[in-house]
């Protein structure tokens, strides 16, 4: 079975270029990239992209699917549907479920559920410590054998440097990737905004942006000590960037992500105590947002993620301090980050370096590229199509998006996973 996607504007993050052409898919893999003017191959099926963009599917590191434990918030089925509609072809799912994915048995349960019902690829993280409690190491070896692609205790930051250091050493010896969260936990405790005049006016408990840098400095010291491969799930403040830059310059095996929310929103959005904008880490100053966008453009920040975190209405319809943190993002990642292109921060190939190529490199995947031999995980999209976000039209089970009623640009038209079409916009 061969499929030819013709008449497309190809976005190639590897060569940082875009050009008109076609992609030939054979047996679930890309078998050829044909530039415009070259002879088109024959194919069983031909799909005309009508001049719209064709890029590798998004690889989203850090998606929360609430299985096991809270399937009323999100299941592998609904997350898979949301991902397909959002152009996300691989979800690296988090371990902070109820119970945490900290044993091979739980991991296998999640994988089985994913294989049975998810429309897109699912690769699971496992907890670094049992119950993410930071005291006893999880069975890193068994978990690797069972299919864990990374180890993370999520936002449960380990305060014990001795134990955390041992976990990193052990993970290093196993060749495992560790994903960390850079927020100093004592300073951040109870904070739901970034300290400054705006949080002071609202009277909300707030944390200094320095809390992120302090933890990142500690983590970098432990990475240097152990030599582990380390990915920071999301950075959000300008003061952290020099630390990351120094670590990379020193040759530490470190990469870092940023969430779509910290790239497109700022602290002023929480005005009126709007809990859909309550995130962890909290939204930052506009200068931080711009610094993060520039860091994505320069390549200092490697990865953009949605930090998809479903929360039901009940956990958001509370006073701001009591409300749950987090926002869904699978279906908004593409239009959200395309706003950075429209704002002139970067071009589409640079954006796709952070959306597909770098995440694939961090996770050691073959996908994320527009190259012969790579899995045919692809997204066709119109970067200019305007729309008004309506959260009740989302496929994710929880509708907690901060972009509700926002004017956005960028629509996913088709999504392919392993050459099979999993989404087509009507």
């Amino acid at each position: 079975m061969t499929t030819l996607l013709t008449n497309a504007r190809l976005i190639d993050p590897e060569t940082a270029s875009e050009f008109r052409g076609s992609v030939l898919i054979d047996e679930g893999r890309i078998s050829g990239i044909i530039a415009e003017g070259d002879t088109l191959s024959q194919a069983d099926e031909i799909i005309d992209c009508n001049g719209k963009c064709l890029a590798p599917g998004i690889i989203d590191i850090g998606v929360k699917v609430c299985e096991p434990g809270e399937r009323h918030k999100e299941s592998f089925r609904t997350a898979g549907e949301a991902a397909a509609a959002g152009g996300v072809t691989t979800m690296i799912v988090r371990s902070d479920t109820e119970p945490a994915v900290d044993s091979p048995e739980t991991l296998q349960f999640a994988l089985r559920r994913a294989r049975d019902v998810s429309k897109v690829n699912v690769l699971p993280m496992a907890a670094l410590t049992k119950d993410r409690a930071g005291k006893e190491m999880a069975e890193i070896g068994f978990l690797l054998d069972a299919g864990a692609v990374a180890f993370s205790d999520g936002d449960a930051v380990n305060r014990n440097n001795k134990i955390f250091g041992r976990c990193l050493s052990y993970a290093k010896a196993m060749g495992a990737l560790v994903i960390g969260h850079a927020q100093e936990p004592v300073m951040s405790d109870g904070a739901c905004a970034t300290s400054g005049p705006f949080a002071s006016k609202l009277g909300l408990p707030a944390v200094s942006p320095m809390a992120e840098r302090i933890q990142l400095e500690r983590d970098m010291a432990l990475v240097e000590m152990t030599g582990v491969r380390y990915h920071v799930d999301q950075l959000s403040t300008a003061v952290s960037l020099p630390v990351l830059e120094r670590a990379k310059a020193a040759g530490l095996r470190v990469t870092a992500g940023v969430s779509i929310h910290h790239l497109t929103l700022n602290e002023l959005d929480i005005d009126g105590y709007r809990t859909f904008f309550k995130l962890k880490p909290p939204l930052r100053h506009e200068d931080d947002r711009i610094a993060m966008a520039q860091a994505v453009a320069s390549g200092l920040i490697d990865v953009i993620c949605s930090q998809h975190t479903p929360q039901d209405e009940e956990s958001k319809r509370l006073p701001f301090e009591e409300a749950a943190s987090g926002a869904v993002g699978l279906e908004t990642i593409l239009p959200a980050v395309i706003s950075l292109v429209h704002a002139g921060h970067l071009d589409l190939p640079t954006l796709w370096r952070a959306l597909s190529l770098n995440p694939a490199k961090v996770m050691g995947l073959e996908s994320g590229r527009l190259a012969a031999g790579a899995p045919a995980d692809l997204v066709v999209f119109d970067p200019d199509k305007p729309f008004v976000m309506d959260r009740f039209k989302m496929l994710s089970r929880c509708k907690n998006t901060p972009y509700d009623e926002r004017r956005m640009q960028g629509a996913v038209l088709r999504t392919f996973v392993g050459g099979t079409e999993v989404y087509c916009r009507d």
């Binding site: 300290s195 400054g196 005049p197 705006f198 949080a199 002071s200 006016k201 609202l202 009277g203 909300l204 707030a206 200094s208 009126g272 105590y273 009940e314 319809r317 509370l318 006073p319 701001f320 301090e321 009591e322």
Partner: protein
């Protein structure tokens, strides 16, 4: 100028004219409250519910007396002891009470913004009696009335606010108030008790009492909460009293006729010297309490009238 606000959630969104309307009406109630017969029928037949999710004696009784003097049926709900303990959410509690058709809800809550949230879910007037570290509008209004009666005006005064500004909703509401009234604001506090970015609120910030109090017309002292005295914000109460407690010596830097205010309850010997608090020539602390009842009567009457007018307008349009 008509008063059109539907709720009293904070000073920030009140206009200058709204503030003046409340204060002018409150003056009349000050007179009434000094008569032997202190009762009018403005709110006769109406129901006022006081919901205090945080303990309060002064504010709650002040609102209760205000409502009763206006003729309303007043009910106090001790929220700490009831539904919240059973796991009911704030919104459900609000909807339950709303179904009983109250006309006024007076709400105090430990979390900033909680009263705003509640006001969106009910169809009666909501008065914020203090939400977290956010606002305490009736306190700022009673302070304004006290100042206006002592100084004859609210503009072009120099007002010092001293103490735990970081955790104080009283300070925030007064900063909004005094800025709207075009007075100068000086904040005096140890740096650990100042909120981040406070210098952008249209205030001057001082660490030193003598310097900050130089030539001011009004000295507002704030209460230092007991839980801030454990060494994490200030080293000790005696060092705090030495540097930031209001004593006769420090007060001598203010104008000779400067008044001394405190929202209560006071910690004598921590933020204020007992003799100054009791000095009838300087301290207006008891008058603040008196003004509190009058200001709350005025605010409740204006809110009820504004709602009635809004309803009538809708009726005309239909």
């Amino acid at each position: 100028m008509t008063f059109t606000a539907q709720h009293l959630l904070g000073i920030e969104h009140l206009s200058r004219d709204d503030i003046v309307s409340i204060l002018d009406l409150a003056e009349q109630y000050v007179e009434l409250n000094r008569q032997p017969h202190k009762h009018v029928d403005t709110l006769a037949g109406m129901t006022q519910i006081n919901m205090f999710f945080e303990n309060s004696t002064r504010t709650q009784s002040s609102f209760e007396i205000a409502g009763k003097r206006l003729g309303a049926d007043v009910m106090n709900m001790a929220m700490g002891a009831s539904s919240i303990k059973k796991g009911e959410t704030l919104i459900d509690t609000a909807l339950t009470l709303n179904a009983m058709n109250p006309d006024l809800l007076v709400v105090r809550h430990p979390h900033s913004g909680a009263v705003d949230l509640l006001s969106e879910k009910v169809n009666c007037a909501v008065l914020n009696a203090g939400d977290g570290r956010h606002e305490h509008p009736t306190q700022a209004l009673l302070d304004a009335l006290t100042i206006r009666r002592a100084k004859g005006r609210l503009h072009r005064l120099s007002v010092a606010i001293c103490g735990d500004i970081a955790h104080s909703r009283v300070a925030r509401s007064n900063i909004f108030m005094l800025n709207k009234m075009e007075s100068r604001i000086r904040l005096i506090a140890p740096v650990t008790l100042l909120p981040a970015g406070i210098d952008q609120f249209g205030v001057e910030v001082f660490d030193d009492m003598a310097e900050g109090l130089e030539g001011v017309d009004v000295v507002m002292m704030l209460r230092l909460q007991r839980e801030r005295m454990d060494g994490a914000f200030i080293p000790s109460t005696r060092e705090y009293y030495h540097r930031w407690g209001l004593t006769a010596e420090k007060l001598s830097h203010a104008k000779d006729d400067a008044i001394v205010m405190h929202p209560g309850p006071m910690n004598r010997g921590v933020e204020i010297d007992g003799e100054i608090a009791d000095d009838l020539n300087r301290s207006v602390i008891q008058e603040q309490v008196e003004m509190g009842v009058a200001v709350r009567m005025a605010a409740m009457e204006l809110l009820v009238k504004a709602r009635r007018d809004a309803k009538r307008d809708v009726g005309v349009m239909v």
